[in-house]
Amino acid sequence: MASMQSLDIKNRSATSLPSPSVRSHTELAKLIDVSKCIGCKACQVACMEWNDLRGPVGENTGVYDNPQDLNEHTWTLMRFSEVEPDDFSFEWLIRKDGCMHCDDPGCLKACPAPGAIVQYANGIVDFISEKCIGCGYCIAGCPFDIPRLSRADNRAYKCTLCSDRVAVGLEPACVTTCPTGCITFGTKEDMKQQAVLRIADLNSRGYDNAGLYDPPGVGGTHVMYVLQHADRPGLYHGLPEDPRISPMVGFWQGITKPLAIGALALLAMASFLHFIKHGPNVAEEDDDAPSRDKTRDRKEESSHVE
C-alpha cells in the first residue's frame, strides 16, 4: 500500500500507537435496499471478477445460495429466505451478505497481529493479508460471522469494500454492476438520507416496520440495509437483531491483554534482574528465534507505513 494511505488509517489491530490525524475525512457507506434486490447475483460475480476470485464449481444442495457459504473466494453472497411474516403473506427475502464494515469492528479488536486489520477513516475495515497470522480470532470477533480462513494459505479473507477502488474515487464493483440500483454508495450521511426516502416509499406500500439497519451495538456500520421488516432482521437469513462484539473479545482487550502485557513486563523485569545478578545467558538457537521474528514484524510494519 502506498504510504499516503497510512494517513487514512484510523485504527490498527494490536497496536497502541495513535494514528495520524492531520487529514479531514468523510465517512462512507454502502446502502443495500433489500426491497429492490432481485437476487440476480451480479454483485457476487462482479466481486469475483474485480478481485480475481474463482472458487470450485460446487453443487446444488436444495437452495439458490451458491456457493452455500462465504469462503475465501466468495466475499459476498446472496442469501435467500422464504418467510411467512404473518399468516397471510409470503415473501422471498434476498439479502446480500458480506462484511458490514462496523464502526467498532470486532475483528480488528480481536486480532492479535499488529496491523493485520486496519480501519480507514472513511469507515472501511480492511485485512492487510501479509500480516495475517491465520489465528482466526477475527472470525470469533465478528458478530456477523463474515471472515473466512483459507486452507491454502492460512489467511483470513473478507470483503474490502473495494478499498482499492474507493481510494481512487470509484464505487465498489458490486455497486457499479447492480442492475436495479439496489446497492448505492456515498457518504454515510447521504446514504441515511436516501434510506429515509426508501423507508417512506415502503411505508406507503404497507411495510409499516420498514427501517434502516445500522446497528448501534457495533457503533453503526458502513454497509447498511433498508429492510421491509426492520423490527425482525432475523427474517433475513438470520441477520443479528442486536449485534455486539463477543464479550470474550472485550475480555481479551480489557483484562486479558493488560494482564498478559503485565505478565510480559514482569517477565522482562525478572530477566533484567537475572541479567544484573548473573550476567548474560549463552544464546541458544530456539531462544533467539522469536525475537528475530519480532524484529522482522516491526520492519514490515514500518515498510507498510512508508
Partner: protein, 799 residues
Amino acid sequence: MTNHWVDIKNADLILIMGGNAAEAHPCGFKWVTEAKANRGAKLVVVDPRFTRSAAVSDYYAPVRVGSDIAFLGGVIRYLLETGQINHEYVAHYTNAALIVKEEYSFADGLFSGYDEVNRRYDRSSWGYELGEDGYVRADETLQHPRCVYQLMKTHFDRYTPEVVSRITGTPEDRFLKICEMIGETSRPDKVMTIMYALGWTQHSVGSQNIRTMAMIQLLLGNMGMPGGGVNALRGHANVQGITDMNLVTTNLPGYLGLPGDDDQSFEGFMDKRALKPVRPGQMSFWQNYPKFHVSLMKAWWGEHANADNGFAWDYLPHVDKPYDVLQMFELMHAGQMNGFLCQGFNPLAAVSHKAKMSTALARLKYMVVMDPLATETSEFWRNFGEFNPVNTRQIQTEVFRLPTTLFAEEDGTFTNSGRVIAWKEKAVDPPGVARTDRRIIAGLYLELKRLYEEEGGAYPDPIVHLHWPYGNPDEPSAPELLREISGRALQDIGDIPAGRQLAGFGQLRDDGGTACGNWLYSGCWSAEGNLTARRDTADPSGLGIYPGWGFAWPANRRILYNRAACDTQGKPWDPRRAPIAWDGSRWSGPDIPDMRPTAAPGEQVSPFIMLPEGVARLFAGMNDGPFPEHYEPFESPLGYNPLHPDQPAVTSNPAARVFANDWASFGTARDFPYAATTYRLTEHMHFWTKHSLANAIVQPSQFIEIGEALAREKGIANGDQVTVESNRGEITATAVVTKRIKPLRVEGRTVHTVGIPIHWGFTGVANKGYLANVLTPFVGDANSQTPEFKAFLVNIEKA
C-alpha cells in the same frame, strides 16, 4: 416492444405475466424499480411460481401453467362489465364498431370454417360486412348485434371470476384485486404496461395469449401511450435483430412476405400485399409494399432485378408451407433432409423432445455447425453417459464444426427489445482460428458461385447474379452491410444524387431507383452517417425518449402507435405523457409521429396505420380464431376443456399443427399427473453461460423445483435426487423444495406444479446435466409454431 425499455419508467402499473423480468431481464428490470421509486408505480406479478419478480412485487397471484387466456379473458369480461374502458379510444381507435359478416359463428369451442381433417380454419367467414360504398360497415353506437364490441362481449361473457378461478387455480379474491388494479388504468391519466416473454409465447396458444393482452391494452386506451403498450422482452442481445432481418421462413426482411406456391406473378403478389384502405380516409401504409419489396430485390440482385423480370421475381423461392424448426426436424426425422447448416443455434438443447431431435440429427448425411462454443448439437453423436446415451458407432452423420467469433469479437449492431439498433465496436480478437460469420458465409457463397459458373446447374441465376459489391469479397464488412440494409439511391431522385444513402423508407421507390436491404431499418445509416452509433444522452422531454441514442426502427420512432396517445381532437390523454400532439398545423412532439404529419384530427385518420381499416383489431384473423379462447395445453392435467367439457375435439387448440407420429408421444394425467413448466434462471443465459466459470460457480448444477405439499406426498426432502419423467424421457436432478410453488385448486382437484430450469447440458464447465427438453412436447403455437415448453405433464419420484 411497442414501447421500449426506458419507457417502463413512465408506467403507473406494471404487470409481469408470461415472463419473469427480474430473473431473465435483470438489467431492463431497472426501469421497473425506477417507476416504483419515482412515480410510486405498483408491480403486479402473475405466475405459476413466486418468482424473483414476485419477490419485489406489490401484489402476486398464482396461475396454472397454460391457463393465461382464461385469466385475461376474465379481465376483459370484468372491464366490459364494469365499464372500465376508454370509450372514446375503443369506439374510434379499435374495430369495436365494425360489423362482422353474418356467417361468422362460434359454438362448442369452434369458430366458423373449421376443417377437422386438416386442423385448420377457412377464415373467409371472419371478415367484415361491406357497405354499398365498398367500405366496411360500422355502428359507432356499438349497439349492432354483429359489431365487434357486441360479439366480444358475448364471447367473453362465459369468463366469470368463478369460472376463471376454477380454470386457472387463481384464488377469486386475488383475481378480482388484480382486475381492479388493471381497471384503474382505463383513466386517461393512468397507464399500465405489460412485460411478457416466453411464458406466453411458448404455448400451443402462444400468439393468442399475447393478443388477449393486446385487447386489454386497447380497451384501456394504453396502446400508444408512454408507460403503456405491449412489451415483449426478447431473449438474446440481438434476437429482435434476427427477427427483423428474417427469422420466419415465410418472411423476407422487414416482415415482407415470401411468395407462396399460389403466387404466380409479381403483379398479383403486389396486389395482394399492397392493401387498399377498407375505411374512408385511412392510410393503409402497406400500400407502399411494392417500394419496399422492389428496393429489397435491388439490394440483393442489383441490375439483374429490373422491371423486365418482375424485379427478379423468379429468383425467389416459393414456399408450400412454413419451414419452422419443428417442421424442419420433422422432415429430418423422416429422412427427407440430408444436410443441415446450423448457424448460432443449439437445437438439440433448444428444441423440444430431445429423443426425436437426436434421432433426426443421426439421419443427416452431414451437419455444419457455426458457433463460438462446443454446443450439445455439435456433440450429439458423442456418448456422455446418462446425459446423452447415444451409440456413437451407429451414427454416420459427418459433423463439421466452424468456430465463429462471439459478439464482443466483431463489430456490428444489436437491436434490442425496444427496437433500438445500437452499433458496437469489436472489443477483443477472437481466439484460435475463429472467423466471423460474415467471412464463413461469404466463403461458402463464393465457392457455390464458382461451382455454378464452372459446372452450371439447374438454375444458376439467383446465385451467380447475386449483387456482391463489397471491398473484400471474402469478408463483407459490417459497415458495408449496414449501409446496404439502410438503403441508397441508385439514380438521381429529385435532389438526392445517385449513390447517396437515403434518409428513410419514405424515399424508397417501386421502379428500381432505390436499393434497401430492410425497409424498417431504412435511414439508420443516412447521408449523415451511422446513426446507430449515436450516443447522445439528451432527453429533453424527460419521457426517456433519447432521440439521439442509436436509431429505433421504424424512422427512429420510440413509441409505436403514438398517435393513439392523443384523443380524437389531437389532445394528449395525459399532458404529462405526450409523445406527440396536434399543434394546429401538424403532429409534433418529442417522438416521431406515427401518423402522416399533416393529417389534421378532423380528417379522422385512425392511428393504426398499418391496417387497411386504420383501427386496431379486437377481432382479428389469426390462424386459430378471431377471438382468443381458452384451450388446454396438449398435455393437460384435466384432460378436458372446462369451457367445453363434452367436446374432446377442443380440449386443446384445434388449429395447432400436430405431426401424425407425435400424437402418441403425448402423455396423459393418468401416468403423468403433475403440471410442468420450463424456465430460465438469472445466473445463466440459455445454454451458453454454463461454459463460463463465474456463472457455473453461482449456479452450478441442475435442479427441479417442487412445492412443499408435493414433496411431502412423495417423500422428497430438500436436496434429494429426484427423477422427473414425461412420456418422452426422464431426467434426474437435485430437488429444491420450496414455499414458492403452491398447489392450486383447479376444477375441484389439486394441481401440483413441477418447475424445470433449463440451463444444463453435457458440454461446458458447469456440472453436467440433462437437457430439459428431454421432457418437452413436440407441438407448437398455431400461428408461430413456437414449441409448447411451458405447459406439459410429468411424474416425479425420489431417485
